[in-house]
């Protein structure tokens, strides 16, 4: 196996594990934001296991890279990563959305170590990421500020305020991802309010842009590397994704935004993911 193949398989394994843990958390409650958590699993695998400089022992490390999950409902996928990296104990994942939990549906910086910004009202996290980037710039830090927006979220006007702000201020350490799965609660983004060509839009706002397969871990990793190779412009990486990726029963359905995970679905989907994980581990062991 080449080094690149090993990297790919390693990150694919992490992504499968993130999906497995996400599914388990949501099954425990019975309902949750499964579709949009699964669509960013590959990105989070790359961020938490390849690119992001963070320290689980010191979650507030001043020079760490920041991540703002502007589509805050992808909390369960982020929590899976935080548990895998040791920010929180693995058992804590069972507390998702339980009374007084520190793992609420939407990311909360005051409850969960490793969460850099409280999000949940769409369109706001991107602006907070710009504030973080301005503060890091003022302090002379060279860390990256990552954020993730949904495609439905991109219909919010505040997204474009922040995009104009970042382009104007040349926030070159900012690297954004658009989870372009083309679905939102009421249907397809193209039917409801089309984004048309989001990359062209960001480009017009002064950003570097890339369009990649958002489930190709190497493509994600390489795109981040190219973004980090410069500091003149913010980068938007438009990731073409499938909402619900990895659980075929619910894949590519608008209804998977917030859906039930009953015992039957959980049994079938977790068995498949377990096999996938076992197979990847076996390949990597060779």
């Amino acid at each position: 196996m080449t080094e690149l193949e090993r990297k790919r398989k390693t990150l694919e394994l992490r992504a499968a594990e993130i999906r497995r843990l996400t599914l388990g958390q949501i099954h425990k409650v019975g309902i949750g934001h499964l579709g949009g958590s699964l669509s960013v699993a590959d990105l989070l695998a790359v961020l938490y296991f390849d690119k992001m400089r963070v320290d689980p022992k010191n979650p507030k490390w001043a020079d760490r890279d920041r991540l703002v999950m502007s589509k805050g409902h992808a909390g369960p996928a982020v929590y899976a990563c935080l548990a895998m990296r040791g920010f929180i104990p693995m058992e804590q994942l069972d507390t998702l959305n339980q009374p007084y939990t520190n793992l609420p549906s939407h990311c909360d910086m005051n409850r969960t170590p490793g969460i850099d910004m409280t999000t949940g009202s769409l369109g706001q996290g991107i602006s907070c990421a710009m504030g973080i980037a301005m503060a890091c710039r003022a302090d002379g830090r060279e860390n990256n500020v990552y954020f993730v927006c949904g495609d439905g979220e991109t219909q919010e006007g505040q997204i474009w305020e922040a995009a104009m702000f970042a382009g104007h201020r040349k926030l070159g350490r900012v690297i954004g991802f658009l989870d372009y799965n083309r679905l939102q609660i009421d249907g397809t983004t193209d039917d409801i309010c089309s984004l048309e060509s989001p990359a062209k839009k960001y480009e017009a706002f002064g950003w570097r842009t890339e369009e990649i397969d958002g489930h190709d871990v190497i493509a994600i990793s390489d795109a981040i590397e190219r973004a980090r190779a410069q500091a003149e412009k913010p980068t938007m990486i438009v990731m073409h994704t499938t909402k619900g990726k990895g659980v075929p029963e619910i894949e590519n359905q608008a209804s998977n935004h917030n859906c039930n995970v009953n015992d039957a679905l959980y049994a079938a989907a977790s068995a498949r993911l377990d096999s996938e994980i076992a197979a990847l581990k076996e390949v990597l062991a060779q």
Binding site: V68, D108, M109, N110, D116, M117, T118, G120, S121, G123, Q124, G125, I126, S127, C128, A129, M130, G131, I132, A133, M134, A135, C136, A138, D139, G157, Q158, E161, A162, M164, F165, H168
Partner: protein, 322 residues
Amino acid sequence: MSFTVQMPITESTTEMRAAFCEAMLSLAEKDERIFLLDADLMGAMGTKPFAKAYPERTIDCGIQEANMIGVAAGLSAEGKIPFAHTFGVFMSRRVCDQIFISCAYAKQNVKLVGSDPGITAALNGGTHMAFEDLGIMRTIPGVTIVEPTDIAMIRDLVPKIAYHPGVVYLRLVRRTCPVVYGDGSTFEIGKANLLRDGKDVTIIAMGYCVSGALKAAEMLAEEGISARVIDMFTLKPIDREAVIKAAAETGAIVTAENHNIIGGLGSAVAEVIAEDAPAALVRVGIDDRFGIVGLRPFLAEEFGLEAKHIAAAARKAIAKKG
């Protein structure tokens, strides 16, 4: 807390915005965490000297209030102390959710400056006349709400606001205000100021109406009515103790505010006395109307915010005592 009251009341020659900018400059000199954000109203707010002195800590976002509040929240998340300014109408109505979620819910340390409260928006008219900002802010958990009465108070309060943890809403007149307090007066956030003692009725005022309340008390004194006057410059948390004491000792309360009587000072005082100290109450303020265009004296007359209106309300409150 140590203040003196200047009588007779005169109009200041210094504008509130100038005093605010000076206080911000002095604060920023001592503390590198201080940032100032605006949404294309630095010229209007008179804060360009700050931008000149601290360009690296000034962020004029352009006309994008929602993004400005998010940027302020992000700065706070990194340990900065951002002051963000726009007109009060925009700071409350336009960015309510950004303040609610990105700032208050997220426990940020963001200072919000909403200028041109109520009738002081004058010729900008109904679209710019914040009669509702206090009501909106008051429903956001944990937000501290302060409206400085004059330049002595803004000078003293700016650093106190900076180091008061959490989200603070500073409701600020841009131009001149009548001088109520002597130079060098100091104040405590959350503690009402007893400006004049009295036993027949208490006028609880804030902002624009404080000087009118003092004048009303003089008018009432000539009629043999003894009116207590309280400056409730911190609307939230309201000084319950001062309200309860006034209700118990004078039995009649008048509230006076440059804001809708729904949601602002009148409501806040009504809540306290209804729960803890029943007393006669008459509210002076905007009677659930939109603003209209006009100069300050015309608007004060039109909306009934002058000393004579406050005095009439006091007589009514005393009559209600029975």
